[in-house]
Symmetry: D2
Subunit: 394 residues, 4 copies
Amino acid sequence: MAPAGNILQRLDAGEIVIGDGGFVFALEKRGYVKAGPWTPEAAAEHPEAVRQLHREFLRAGSNVMQTFTFYASDDKLENRGKYLGAQINEAACDLAREVANEGDAMVAGGVSQTPSYLSCKSEDEVKGIFKKQLDVFVKKNVDFLIAEYFEHVEEAEWAVQVLKTSGKPVCASLCIGPDGDLNGVSPGDCAVRLVKAGANVVGINCHFDPMTCVKTVKMMKAGVERAGLKAHYMVQPLAYHTPDCNCQGFIDLPEFPFALEPRILTRWDMHKYAREAFSVGIRFIGGCCGFEPYHIRAVAEELATERGYLPAASEKHGNWGAGLEMHTKPWVRARARRDYWENLKPASGRPTCPSMSTPDSWGVTKGHADLMQHKEATSQDELKPLFEKSKASH
Amino acid sequence: MAPAGNILQRLDAGEIVIGDGGFVFALEKRGYVKAGPWTPEAAAEHPEAVRQLHREFLRAGSNVMQTFTFYASDDKLENRGKYLGAQINEAACDLAREVANEGDAMVAGGVSQTPSYLSCKSEDEVKGIFKKQLDVFVKKNVDFLIAEYFEHVEEAEWAVQVLKTSGKPVCASLCIGPDGDLNGVSPGDCAVRLVKAGANVVGINCHFDPMTCVKTVKMMKAGVERAGLKAHYMVQPLAYHTPDCNCQGFIDLPEFPFALEPRILTRWDMHKYAREAFSVGIRFIGGCCGFEPYHIRAVAEELATERGYLPAASEKHGNWGAGLEMHTKPWVRARARRDYWENLKPASGRPTCPSMSTPDSWGVTKGHADLMQHKEATSQDELKPLFEKSKASH
Amino acid sequence: MAPAGNILQRLDAGEIVIGDGGFVFALEKRGYVKAGPWTPEAAAEHPEAVRQLHREFLRAGSNVMQTFTFYASDDKLENRGKYLGAQINEAACDLAREVANEGDAMVAGGVSQTPSYLSCKSEDEVKGIFKKQLDVFVKKNVDFLIAEYFEHVEEAEWAVQVLKTSGKPVCASLCIGPDGDLNGVSPGDCAVRLVKAGANVVGINCHFDPMTCVKTVKMMKAGVERAGLKAHYMVQPLAYHTPDCNCQGFIDLPEFPFALEPRILTRWDMHKYAREAFSVGIRFIGGCCGFEPYHIRAVAEELATERGYLPAASEKHGNWGAGLEMHTKPWVRARARRDYWENLKPASGRPTCPSMSTPDSWGVTKGHADLMQHKEATSQDELKPLFEKSKASH
Amino acid sequence: MAPAGNILQRLDAGEIVIGDGGFVFALEKRGYVKAGPWTPEAAAEHPEAVRQLHREFLRAGSNVMQTFTFYASDDKLENRGKYLGAQINEAACDLAREVANEGDAMVAGGVSQTPSYLSCKSEDEVKGIFKKQLDVFVKKNVDFLIAEYFEHVEEAEWAVQVLKTSGKPVCASLCIGPDGDLNGVSPGDCAVRLVKAGANVVGINCHFDPMTCVKTVKMMKAGVERAGLKAHYMVQPLAYHTPDCNCQGFIDLPEFPFALEPRILTRWDMHKYAREAFSVGIRFIGGCCGFEPYHIRAVAEELATERGYLPAASEKHGNWGAGLEMHTKPWVRARARRDYWENLKPASGRPTCPSMSTPDSWGVTKGHADLMQHKEATSQDELKPLFEKSKASH
């Protein structure tokens, strides 16, 4: 029933590859990741929690188990946790493989943007960091590699160049919107540069809501085609509505990261996202921060006809709410139908709150003093001017 | 560091007992419970998923592991699952006990309202159903018992009377709001009747948002005190904002159960809830549908001074967002403070949606033909008039 | 086509009497009344503006021309304007009569609550103020009298007692909500006291939105009937939605008085109001602050069948938007129908604003030092503590 | 105190010219204009109402009295009213002149887009219509001319060419947004074409909210400057917030024209608009549909320092709410300050309504069968398919 072959064979064969959801945010809510540093030491500390989340995404329909190695570069971890990057990276690979083998999923090793790049370290230094992570992925023999969550296409190119040395398929996804990367390079140009650097699959992850990310990938695809190049496309957006974002994405929303609840997408929003992503030609479709297992299940259910099967977790979910036919109350049974959920405009229950925010926009990027990495948590003295600045902007 | 003694000893000693969150809703999102029937066969089918959720609530600060036995009465399950009630109830007890022993938590066995009562079966028949569940709880030696989620105080009294025969402490919580039970019995009168029936702890769970539930428990407490009686108080509300509910609670909201996302409380909302519950004299404070582990952690953090310790999961959570002091971007570091989160009015990101809904209100209750339990899922023919009725009401 | 007889004969005959709208607010927007003092010296200064507004309400269907004498008591005016109360009151009577005679409208002279009462002057002093106004109304031979906009039923009783000495019909309307007057006297009890004081028509004006006012009049009617008394009923609400008001009404909303725009009722909201007022038995139906001529026209159109005729201004208004049948664009022509407008949920166009506010509530009433009348505008020094207090409450 | 000279002399001298507000919408609410046809026969039928509105705008600070001749071309009126265009146009000129002479205002004669153009009549035919209107303006010796409310720059060019033959100064304003005219001609290109056709002042009126219109005029100015041309600039936007409009403007909003109330700008919104318009170099600043006298007064008050005087109506308005210093209640006195009103986010009082709508967008323009002018009101048979289409789009 499920697909076979490596990711390129599957994509070349026209198959849909469903990604997983957002580990960092999901595990923060479960109590295993700390917001702020956002580092993945839980892979080593609490393997049962990470394993269970992998398993839920597998049940929900994911074909890809991404190793839980976000921000697991030594330059990030040395300031923050008690585990070495290698330990965490190895444990994460083992967990992903263990669960992948329970189904027919592929394991993907991931690298992401580094503090070193933002602090203007040299190309060699930055590449050295990626190489160290890659060594673990090669040793653990992951199925393919993803360079994801880059705000600057240049750093993503460096990552792709390093990852390509492994001979494994390489995906590259940026966390940018339709306005392009933080230096203003357009999505189309970014995509061309990534393909030229060797990426087999290019796209977008994180920072913006599903429809915005799909739109941006569409611009990337147009750029690649205009350049006479070929690629596959991926998208792994937020599960938060972000119509009010500026170019830096949801980080700048006042609600980030602890009050995003009212923005969470419903499963029905996910149906629309999956359909739209498919219809513009994206075939690697997953999620990032905010995606819970039921969001991925909704993607898999929307594309069940195209894929030819439902995910395992659909044993616990009726199509378009059909399970409600068995609800105790008749008026809830009346909601067991597609047009009800498709057209519902859900209320926030928060009449004193607005529907859109004014994002922060301090307009700093790579190299700005404010972005140099600190060894210590910001002190109260350092924070004070930030509070003032922040106060003025709201 | 943690408390000791049975629940009554703890409450008598003035301790705060923190409950757990909503298993049915959390496990639905994780792919193990089906919305509509809402039955807990996962305790037998997927024990690792149930165990992990128990563990997360324990880490978050829960002192109570409620057995995952909601709606696990035979009259409910016979129509719906492939497991017998006893199997599920036993497995659930074992899981709760296993995780409770990893910390210092108590195990609570729970019964809730029955289809039999709504279908006007006799007192003996209804009590027989509770007795069957109780037999398992006694055999598995749970620490105390909870009769919860009752819309009619009469059925709750019957449940309490059955549970009291075990000699264990009994809690009773109704799923009603300030307008009283579905027959219009006021919260104060309901509480008096439950205490007279033998309940040691009385209160409210589910159906309404935290502030509404606390307000209702306050009315119960006033009723009990007016009657010259004594009791402890509990509250386990929804984690959804429901200012627009009528007397039947969130079931009647158009968003129930698949589009409640924009209503989810933030952790900061939970701080306010915990403080308010404590200040009106409630000492058993937990959650129901929608409560995820981080919501319970927020309750435990708000009451950390009173309890004398932080929950284990606070190793992954800075007080009032303090973890953000280590965030990459300075303007996010500026959010590492209490007054920022306490005063934020979070946007929904949904500018075409309202902030309040008009609830369905078909005004049926116990004995109405529409509420008689069906053996089969409602057929399309039966649903059609419901669709029409539902269409007209929106 | 139009009715005849004095107001009591009309009401006794079962006729609907339509009031006018809000002069103070409408003329503030037209540039002739100053917000803050809210005094009606324009009757003497700019008679053409006042005459024109009377005429518009007459065209819109009003059967009552209220003299533009709000707050025109000497104790109010002595601090504020350059005209004597008598001059203004006389000019206002002449204008109302002039326009009333252009149709078949009645002239009503009005008195309202006094600074003297709030400053705890004696009954004699307060009654003396009403008497001085009444003398002008008698001299100018108005058709009937209205004591309106009272927050304390006691002061309204005094006003009724004074007005009754004229032998003319007397209406009495309070600006209170369902919670009763500022001393907590219930709407039902207030109504009984007013009827006993001699009022022929009792009801509510200002401070709350139409549905809230109708609900309050319903409570008054129930009180009068319970007491075995007889009366007619009137309602003249705000044209602003105020679901978030506390007992002091819209004064306490943060938007009062200069940012109420998003709350303005549409003409279709007015149809619902007129129907509801009629259906609970109210027969004197008008408006207060915020009511523009088209709002009164909507009331008259909703009740056209019952009254037997349309207002003059309906020559410029198609029933339920029928005029749009002649619009240039076809999709606007498609809006020429009742169910379109009746069901539309109009957007605010303000995505960063909430739908409900948290009202100020300083909880002061008659006799509080803050309410003693000042001779001078509040000084910056006096205002400073108010700013601080106000800041803290938002 | 007030300025002197014709409009070009004033603008050349760097003076700010303040326009008037929206006659059609204001008089519809007062009962003198019918929504749908929107024709100005009230100039002949009810001169006192039109005169009074002119006077209110004059008091509010307007330097321009636009003749109330919107849509007063014979091809429009022949289907609709009982007056000939010439009668209405002459009466309107007389009224504007009468009130202009009460102050120091200029009279502007206006022409706007014609049904003939939308129905694809020839350039000669369309120009003939403008010529007929111009003849009246010349006979009545208006001070200058405005070609306004054009969706197609080509028709506006024709109008300018006709108006130029009079030798009087000519202003040209389109009702387009940043996306350009309905044929997709950009704002910058439109402006260049209008200047080349002979317009002395170019800009935008109607269809979009103030900030959108200012932004569009800014694009026009940039186009004119890029082309090495010279012009003055004008803006007369809606007084409605329209963040959700597509290229056809507020006509396509579901709320048009009878439920726009929640979108009405406050006077404080107008301060921001006036400041922004001034700061981008616009010197003829007025309003269109929705602008009431107090909106224009707010524009005049914001620019009082630059103009050197306050408008007459400011005798009835304290700066930034200063009049509230004399309010009865102390917490309302606390609102007598600029930062209170400047930062307030006003609530809609409509918790079941959204903040943004999805506009209709049938995508038809000049020449489409649906836009050909009808002799008769659309019949019920013709409307039925429109209703269906409209239903589907909401």
